[in-house]
């Protein structure tokens, strides 16, 4: 190290020891503050492990909460968190990686590249709650409600609702009249059919308030989070792409490869570790955010997992995650249990247990990313 050796040389020439008194004091203050910061980290983690550890058991991880959230486990929240980030990364990773490829490999400077870069920088600086507003305003209320309108003919505003109920009311009335006349028939079959019709009148003439896509759902939450983590993925992919030496690219071009061939067979494979780091960091970030998804589908209590009816795959039947349902989330579980539960003090153990699970999840991911990055930067 230059500094060290020069410092030694200077000492040898001048014979002076290094620092004056005030510098020594100042230096120890700086050391002390750094130590306090690190101790804070250790204290936070220690407390969470200490108080949350006894709570962790297989039942805690595998069961739904019960007895008004004072008993049972956190499985639905864990499930929701995991699948939320899975959906999120499935959306964000391709867009982020290919966007970064475009920005580093295809644009050479110029105003366009600068606009793209400024956009990414600004996206990274937007407060997370604003993403929540955006998710609600754009994904749920704009995209979702319009999808409902065009796919299921569900009204979007008061005028359309009036027209809709004008259309639906005769259907509904007809169904009810039919049911009534069937019920008066003196046959078992007739009364059964009447019951069936009355039970399914909602399907025959759905009410105007029905929502399919235009309500909070895991899919919209994942889309909102995907935009939030885009900058993370783009920045780390760009770094990884830049680290690929130009000579490798030139060698590939020299062999006659086209730009996309160079990118897909030479550059991207070499940048794999960096891209993976970015993806893991994005996963950790996504799992740790609550503000952006507060209004887009996260819910306090939904013990039924967001699954479809079992789908028949021929050999076996398997329920599939239904991304258009509301879901529970670890972060929201902690937040509501700590601030809105009727007995926040009595359920502290559950809260610490949930916190420990969440911290362990994000921690492992962050640690993985840090180690991966360190290995690859060597």
């Amino acid at each position: 190290m230059t500094q060290r050796s020069l410092s030694n040389a200077r000492k040898a020439v001048t014979g002076k020891t290094s620092a004056p008194m005030w510098a020594v004091v100042f230096e120890s203050i700086i050391r002390g503050i750094t130590g306090v910061v690190l101790l804070m980290l250790i204290y936070i983690l220690g407390t969470i492990v200490w108080k949350g550890g006894p709570q962790i058991s297989w039942e805690f991880l595998s069961q739904a909460p019960s007895e008004g959230m004072t008993e049972g486990g956190i499985f639905p929240a864990l499930f929701g968190t995991v699948f939320l980030v899975v959906f999120m990364i499935a959306m964000a990773l391709p867009i982020g990686v290919f966007g970064a490829v475009y920005m580093t490999e295809y644009t050479r400077g110029g105003i366009f590249a600068r606009v793209l870069r400024a956009a990414v920088n600004n996206l990274a600086g937007v407060p997370s709650i604003v993403f929540g507003l955006f998710g609600l305003g754009f994904f749920v209320l704009f995209v979702g409600r319009n999808m409902d309108y065009y796919v299921y003919d569900i009204p979007r505003n008061a005028e359309e609702a009036a027209a809709y109920s004008a259309r639906m009311e005769p259907l509904r009335a007809a169904a009810l009249i039919e049911a009534e006349s069937l019920a008066t028939e003196r046959s078992l079959e007739g009364s059964e059919r009447a019951q069936f019709i009355t039970a399914h009148v909602e399907q025959i003439a759905p009410p105007a308030s029905r929502k399919v896509f235009g309500k909070g759902a895991m899919f919209w939450a994942a889309a909102t989070l995907a935009i939030l983590v885009l900058p993370v993925i783009i920045v780390s992919t760009e770094e990884a792409l830049r680290a690929v030496p130009a000579s490798t690219r030139e060698a590939a071009y020299g062999l006659g490869a086209t730009k996309w061939q160079v990118t897909s067979t030479v550059v991207l494979p070499q940048a794999r570790a960096g891209i993976l780091t970015g993806a893991i960091l994005a996963l950790a970030r996504g799992a740790g955010e609550l503000a952006p998804i507060l209004f887009v589908g996260v819910t306090f209590y939904a013990p039924d997992l967001p699954l479809t009816e079992p789908i028949n795959f021929g050999l076996f039947e398997l329920p599939v995650v239904n991304p258009f349902k509301e879901f529970m989330h670890l972060n929201y579980h902690i937040y509501t249990m700590a601030t809105q539960h009727h007995d926040p003090e009595g359920t502290r153990a559950i809260q610490f247990g949930t916190t420990l699970v969440l911290v362990a999840m994000t921690f492992l991911m962050n640690l993985g990313a840090i180690m991966l990055r360190r290995r690859y930067s060597r």
Partner: protein
């Protein structure tokens, strides 16, 4: 494969057999085959779409927030965002009815009342109060930790401390909020009361607790940015200073720090912006009461916490709902401006370092 030229055989640099200048020129003129050209164009188009999505996203964010926020500005007078004037009604026994006793000006955030009173001043007070307190705490600690990392730590301690700070950034904000709420706030309150501060320390969850919580997140951010800024000062400068006989301290203090000072400022402003945008911590442990009390130990509610706490209950299309979007638009403008300042500082600083 149209441009592949066979390797020269051992005939001393002469063109390989079967490839004369005319044919080579012809191949170069034709270039890549139409199929490959089509594939290249398609791929480039798709990549362009991916690259543009983030730009579209930021434009849409601004568009939607401002579209909804402006609706709020059309529903109420603009000055109602600062104060509202309400008539004071009092019960008069002789007349047996409510009598108007003149008007008074209120600076309150009560969007659920009738008529809604949407002064954002209490929220601004909360946001900026917490951001300033956080800036003070985290500038002190963050700059110290960053200086330590870049100037004082040996490579081995650095390799331990830096990842620890990165892990601290990675802790979910809900966890920090919960930690402050469940572990710190109450003992801190009891401590303050025990040393006789109960007149000043009026709420268990208050602005100070909130800003300590936010600082836990901001300190490592500032530390690692300061570290980057100081380390990007060229080694030549250090070497020159040391070889002129300056001590290590003189070098750090008079050479490295001035050269990296704009980076340090950029880090502090960035930290301030982050503190303004922080949501969950302040929602959980800053008291969550939109009031205007000039005391750092009183409960406050920030702009972000207001949005987070009220968006679920505000009916769509009401003044309340639109005002929350107005607050969101304000928030995004604020952070945008702060980011712009950071950008300008960093650009200037890059030029300076390049000399």
């Amino acid at each position: 494969m149209s441009l592949r030229i066979p390797p020269a055989a051992g005939n001393g640099g002469a063109p390989p057999p079967g490839l004369n200048a005319t044919r080579l020129r012809e191949r170069l003129r034709r270039g890549v085959s139409p199929f490959r050209r089509f594939r290249e164009k398609t791929v480039e188009g798709m990549l362009l779409v991916c690259g543009v999505i983030s730009t579209v996203a930021i434009v849409l964010i601004f568009f939607f927030l401002f579209k909804e926020g402006i609706k709020a500005a059309s529903m109420v007078e603009l000055d109602e965002f600062l104060y509202s004037t309400v008539s004071v009604l009092e019960y008069d026994i002789e007349l047996d009815e409510m009598v108007n006793k003149g008007e008074k000006t209120d600076i309150v955030w009560q969007p659920a009342s009738d008529p809604p009173r949407v002064s954002i001043v209490p929220l601004l007070w909360g946001s900026f109060g917490i951001a300033f307190l956080t800036a003070i705490i985290s500038t002190l600690a963050g700059v110290a930790a960053g200086t330590y990392l870049s100037e004082m730590a040996t490579k081995r301690t650095r390799d331990i401390v830096k990842p620890m700070l990165e892990l601290l950034v990675g802790i979910p904000t809900v966890v920090i909020g919960f930690f402050m709420l469940a572990v710190i706030a109450l003992p801190l309150y009891r401590f303050a009361v025990s040393i006789g501060l109960e007149k000043i320390y009026i709420d268990t969850y208050n602005m100070f607790v909130g800003s300590v919580g936010v600082s836990i997140v901001i300190i490592p951010v500032i530390a690692s940015l300061v570290d980057d800024a100081l380390r990007s000062v060229p080694d030549d400068l250090r070497a020159a200073s040391l070889s002129l006989g300056a001590t290590r301290w003189q070098t750090s203090w008079r050479v490295v720090l001035p050269a990296g000072i704009s980076g340090v400022f950029a880090a502090i402003i960035l930290g301030f912006g982050r503190a303004i945008g922080e949501t969950m911590i302040v929602l959980m442990c800053a008291g969550n009461a939109p009031q205007l009390v000039a005391n750092p130990f009183a409960a406050v509610r920030t702009m972000t916490a207001s949005i987070a706490a009220e968006m679920g209950t505000a009916g769509q299309g009401t003044i309340w709902y639109q005002s929350l979007f107005f607050v969101g638009a304000l928030l995004v403008t604020l952070t945008f401006v702060l980011n712009l300042i950071v950008e300008l500082i960093v650009n200037r600083y890059r030029k300076k370092i390049r000399l």
